[in-house]
Assembly symmetry: C2
Homo-oligomer: 350 residues x 2
């Protein structure tokens, strides 16, 4: 036992109430800690920005108080709520649905780009490089349209239950960021309606958003293809997914879709790439308290590191340019450093 501790005990023996005060303070500290709504965040400006935003917008009498009905929060998904590398989950879905497609239409097995996808799925990693954007669009149309809404939902649900991320060997829905899950819950606990505003497919994300994020289908805004109303042979009506783009929920499409689908400007928005720039600008341009936050993937060890902002490696998937980083700094957006701001990234971490 060290001398100081001995002295302390002696003092306590002499003044028993000091010990009681110590216990009381200890309990109080524990209680405060248990109430931390963002335990997976390290202390710092990012965590502080969220806490401060909630405080000023939900405290009665605060000059920045926001009426409960106007409490709208918008979250990009890929790279903001869950992992987007090495490639967007929905692209994996489309690629991995190609074998089913070929089973139904065997003639496609020798037709590009479907043959390239089969090579890729059989281990030829170089095949990925051969796929162009028009190829990916062709594959998306072939795997996401032509079936009823219910058939698509069932197929996506089954795939999500079985597919595994190549690095963590876990279902994609387990690769959500715990700190962001905490923010979603904390915002909802304070009366915010949490929306996902994603460049990904609206119908795809709606399949799992409620279970994965607590976000119901009607609060998922995404890139959307049209549907066509028709009747089955027995006269029962149904909707078929059509190869017709209705919403391109990227870049300027994000604020445009927010207006169409929600009709109110968010008070807080989260993104991570150039595709989120306009949504964050639009959010910040509103009156009163508005918070824009942007996730920087700077943690190659626990997740991935890419930018090219801040001299991080360049990427085509979830690009965060230096220009965007500079705009963030200039406009008072808060950059979230995965490495520094997140104590824990995934719920499954020890």
């Amino acid at each position: 036992m060290k001398e100081g501790r001995k002295e302390e005990l002696k003092a306590n023996r002499k003044l028993p109430f000091v010990g009681l005060v110590g216990v009381a303070v200890g309990l109080l500290t524990t209680a405060t800690r248990a109430q931390d709504p963002l335990p997976s965040w390290n202390e710092g400006p990012a965590k502080q920005a969220v806490l401060e935003f909630i405080k000023v917008t939900t405290t009665q009498g605060s000059p920045q108080f926001v009426l409960p009905e106007a409490r709208i929060a918008a979250f990009d998904q890929d790279g903001t709520l869950w992992v987007e590398h090495p490639i967007y989950t929905q692209v994996m879905y489309c690629l991995e649905k190609v074998p089913d497609l070929v089973k139904a239409k065997p003639e496609l097995a020798k037709v590009a780009p479907f043959n390239t996808v089969l090579d890729l799925l059989h281990g030829d990693r170089a095949a990925m490089e051969k796929l162009t954007l028009p190829d990916l669009e062709k594959i998306a149309i072939a795997t996401l349209t032509g079936m009823s809404v219910e058939t698509f939902q069932a197929e996506a649900k089954q795939w999500l239950a079985e597919a595994k991320h190549p690095r963590w060997k876990k279902p994609y829905t387990e690769l959500t960021y715990l700190p962001m899950q905490e923010v979603l819950k904390y915002l909802r606990a304070n009366g915010y309606k949490t929306y996902i505003v994603t460049g990904g497919g609206q119908d795809f994300v709606r399949v799992y958003a409620e279970q994965t994020y607590g976000v119901p289908p009607e609060q998922v805004v995404g890139t959307a293809l049209g549907t066509k109303y028709g009747y089955a042979k027995d006269g029962k009506p149904f909707l078929t997914k059509e190869p017709k783009l209705v919403l391109n929920d990227n870049d300027a499409g994000k604020p445009e879709s927010i207006h169409l689908m929600i009709g109110r400007r968010p008070h807080i928005a989260f993104g991570n790439s150039t595709g989120d720039q306009q949504m964050l600008e639009y959010t910040k341009a509103g009156d009163g308290a508005r918070l824009a936050m942007i996730v920087l993937h700077d943690d190659a060890t626990r997740e991935y590191a890419y930018g090219p902002a801040e001299k991080l490696p360049d990427t085509k998937v979830g690009t965060f340019t230096q220009a965007l980083f500079d705009e963030a700094k200039k406009n008072g957006w808060t950059v979230i450093s995965m490495k520094n701001d997140w104590k824990k990234i995934f719920a499954f971490e020890p």
Copy 2:
């Protein structure tokens, strides 16, 4: 005093507790009446259908119980929630905005169809007959697009505060149907999310839907023109309303928009015209308890009478054909007769 009443009083004097029982029964009846969630409805199959639907879908243990998150209700607006004759309110808005338009662009005063509208507004009722559907579209584009979203909202709000319906000389927002307001409230009290699914303009209806119906902007689905994201001279971003149709929320467009905007099939839907047919079919085609209801305007005295179903006068505004009436009967939709099912139509009635 009549003999019977005298006898009653005498009996009560002899048996005081009978009087107390009478009072108790009276109180009980009053209490039951006070709890009637649909006091403006006459007893009958329509009122019963709503009460029964709520009972079976919200009583725990009921085989037709609907999970709270799946409780979606869809209401057409024009002719279902408020008056649509002699012409849709939004058409009146577009016509009455023409003088402002001409003030800003004087050269339009002599150009068709704007000159025809000016004649109409100056009392030439016959001018209305000259306006074709392409004319109305031209007027809609001129009065609903080319301005920022906020400018449009402010203009529509001001018009709604000042404009009066030609028959009742009251603001249009006072011409909502009290029985339907009761249904909206009753559904919400039972955990249903109430949506407006209207052929009218989404942006227009959103201006007043929260105050008028308790339906927030994000629960208004309507015909929608696109917006375009851009920047003002000071760099501030804003959305401009564009002459580009994104959603045509009529006929098959209603279930298609419901899928896009809500992503869940309603359990209960209300309409009043051929434009609602597919929404009602789609609603009824779902599993479990589904209720489709359709308002028949058969009350020329208190509101209007039009069909041409059931030999009511024909109309171009809110057409309810005999074929639709027959489909309603065949498919188990409930027809609401304004005349017979509604005790009171407007809140301002004595």
